[in-house]
Symmetry: D2
Subunit: 304 residues, 4 copies
């Protein structure tokens, strides 16, 4: 299928629509981005590549990184994970504390902030050098060694991240954080600061479309069964309280970040990454959501 042509057509069509989204402003580093940036890249499991626009410009992947940390933790530990974080959609905003109170410190899933913080706590327990190790992991997945944290972004998040500090303290009060809070949050804030371009994101997610095996290296990251479950979890929980909408309209497992990126996985076929900074009220890329809805509608391909 000529995805390049489809990309261009959809882009042209979306250009006519007023972008009601707003660029994330809670940290200076994110607010400075040009709202007109737009990129999309698709890589198939066979290695074919399709791209459009600013696909090769790096952006702050933010919560997309929560899939990397989750997969790494899932590959490291056996059973303990699901005692400490659930697999249910939250039905509430990504940073809500309400459910944590009724659920006694157990976050609903690893893709809301609280859940990703618990995953970071697990990585701090399991790894000797968690920051270096997660970076090595992502570089292995993507095959690109220049991928890195953005320390200014991490520092900016740290100095304004009071809600996340509330979450980690609250979970520690329930005994669900085992390590020192500062160390856990240092990993968390750095994780969110990673910068990649659309092509790099697609490439690094490709093992999820390929039964857990990185196509170009042959390395197995997760078993086929666990790979299916990781995809299922993105389907249920990848878009905060808009996960149902994404499932309904796009029909692929995926994950978004407040940097404006969205990645979606079509098992056995491809990964697609779209980037457009302005966000809708739920914190997901306004045009990215529309683009992917239009893409799966036109290609008539979704997992359902």
């Amino acid at each position: 299928m000529d995805y390049n042509k489809i990309f261009e057509d959809i882009y042209t069509e979306l250009s006519k629509i007023d972008n009601k989204g707003v660029v994330a402003e809670y940290i200076p580093e994110l607010s400075k981005i040009d709202p007109n940036k737009f990129g999309v890249q698709l890589t198939t499991v066979e290695g074919d590549k399709f791209a459009f626009g600013d696909w090769d410009e790096r952006f702050s992947i933010q919560s997309i990184a929560k899939v990397f940390s989750y997969v790494l933790a899932y590959s490291l530990i056996k059973s303990d994970l699901w005692d400490r974080v659930g697999v249910e959609p939250s039905g509430t905003a990504f940073n809500s504390l309400v459910q944590l109170e009724s659920d006694k410190g157990i976050p609903r899933n690893p893709f809301i902030n609280a859940g990703a913080i618990v995953v970071c706590d697990i990585l701090v327990s399991e790894l000797e050098k968690p920051k270096e190790d997660i970076l090595t992991f992502i570089r292995e997945l993507s095959g690109i060694n220049s991928i890195n944290f953005n320390s200014r972004v991490a520092e900016s998040e740290r100095s304004t991240g009071f809600t996340n500090m509330a979450l980690v303290n609250f979970m520690k009060s329930f005994g669900n954080i085992h390590n020192d809070i500062e160390e856990v949050m240092d990993l968390y804030f750095n994780l969110c600061s990673i910068e990649m371009n659309c092509m790099e994101v697609s490439k690094s997610f490709l093992f999820l479309a390929n039964n857990g095996v990185v196509p170009y290296s042959g390395k197995s990251i997760l078993s086929p069964s666990r790979t299916k479950r990781a995809n299922a979890l993105m389907q249920s929980c990848g878009f905060y309280d808009e996960s149902g909408q994404f499932t309904f309209k796009v029909g692929l497992p995926g994950k978004s970040g407040v940097g404006g990126g969205i990645v979606a996985v079509h098992p056995q076929r491809y990964c697609i990454t779209v980037w457009s900074p302005p966000l809708n009220p739920k914190g997901n890329s306004y045009k990215g959501m529309l683009f992917l809805e239009e893409f799966t509608t036109r290609t008539e391909l979704s997992i359902f």
Copy 2:
């Protein structure tokens, strides 16, 4: 694949596990069922059939019927539906009133009780004889004319259904019920009382695995795009606050009922229906959930 052999193997294995489930007791008609009943039936889109156990014994399908009412409403009306009911998982119990208060009377999705009641209200508005029409619709889908309401069950639900009466009154206070409450609830309680066997359920859901077309009659119920969305909605919302677990462990769109039935759809392939009356604490069939998890694990087939 020899599904009959797999069914038998899994059944034998599950027989060794203590059934921690409890048969629904809130209405006498349901509580009288033999807890050892167990049936499973799979029908492929090509018409192949596989079955085991009590697959040909009718049971109260209860909330499985909410898919029929939703599809019928979805096929009847255009845009209005999504102003009145959402497509997000609720994250709470099937009969919770809490979200309705914060969401001003708009239920999260059509598969929780409140959402199914709104769908019934829509059907009362759209159809001349809603009770007869929904029955005709289900008979058409399944090709079996003896499918019917169980009036004793409907009456039993009516006389004890105070939570559902609270839900409908509460939504009417927000203006989200347009018709007379008694008429809406008469349809709702009858809908839940429908009795079918595993084979009949599988057969009547088969259009959802076949791009919206009933295979044996060739009749188109929904467009391919809407069919995908109906499946997506079952994936997100089919199992109340256990939807994430079902997605994670089974990996197929599906719907459960408190009668102990579960139906799951593998698009382009098959429908499978399992029936085992004892329920887990979330209100889903205890052994039915385990059976389907084991089934998609052994066949290595899921949508992810």
Copy 3:
């Protein structure tokens, strides 16, 4: 103290303030009232009377009547009452269902709608002719036999009272309503429809300022200890989620109604009733609240 002069002074001062309140509009009968009506009446335990404005015009006392039903139930039964309704402020709106869900059908106190409905259920159990008996009780307290229900108001509330119907059904689902819902709600809606003027309200509450004894008849309604507790309950719970504000600013036990009336009790001294129909966002009389705040400030008399 020359209360007449103080009444006039405060009234003059409040006249300069823009009334930001809005007359209750949810039933036609209430919305038709002239928003400029204003009356105040104070009766001392010695029988002295002070009044201003429209003090002798009857209005719909609405939730003020919940004190009568509570006192009557409290005088009829022993211990059972506090198993079925609490004595804590709700911290939420008068008609919220959220707490009922977490508190398993036990309302926080007898002065929110749910609590008053439980009290009506108790009265239906305890009394042969509950509607007549509650009317007789209020006539005894006030010594005025022409006090009556307004059947048009009661009917109007009945036909639009979906939130209250949701509350009673929800509580019945938890087993906290023992009688037929229609009978309980008939009593409840009639209770709310009672019409009295300021003087009649003050007079009928006077036993609460007089150790439980009706001053002019000498009849004992409650023991001194129970009288204190009834006053305490009005202090904690008389103004929905504005009870703290009323306690803070006025400093007397009291009760409001959406008809715009407020009654306050100064133990050992007097009862004061003020009436001004426009309501603040919490459902309490906008100018009535200001009047009483100014009144206890000027007289430097409150229970604290």
Copy 4:
């Protein structure tokens, strides 16, 4: 009235009742206390003193100190206070985060933890040496210079106070904490660690029974009107989600602490302080509550 005799009688009677309370165990310093300690002290505005048991042994006053911080802030600032903290009972546990989320970081009242932390933030803004100044203030109120923080208790609270750290971070995310979190919490944890005996607590609260004037020094702390409001606030909010019960059964404004102390104020008459470490499930002294209920019942004196 011979309060000494009444104290002894009630104590004897309560001795027969099994103490179902449990000593606070969340910090080692509190858990080590002898659960059989019991003291009570009453001081009248005229200076008469009555006491029984361990009235002269100092204990950790904990949340009782929140009245001191609130009164000091209330005396220092004009209007800003009520934009940042409410006067409504919370209806929930003392350390709940749920309401903060819906109320956008504004605590319900100054006597729950979140509210007291905001008050500490105000004191950090208003005072040069907040820790010294609050201590000086309490020493002035009581006339006793040896009153001090217990640094071990403060440190213990600091090292385990994750819920409180969650609260302060969460409020800062809403902009309702203006100063550095560490500085605010240092004041808060020290405030809670203050140790006083029953007599010292009674004496230091006496200005609240005396129109805002410290009886033995003649110093005016609050105006009469503000004094009434401070008492009203204790009445509404002094006992977390048991405030209604205390109002209902005891009928006096008061404040409790998890050290097992309770102080109650009878305006124009006296202050009474009771101390018994084991706590009921709501975090209030089990026998202290019973003692005060019995005390106001026997003396037939309450504000209602």
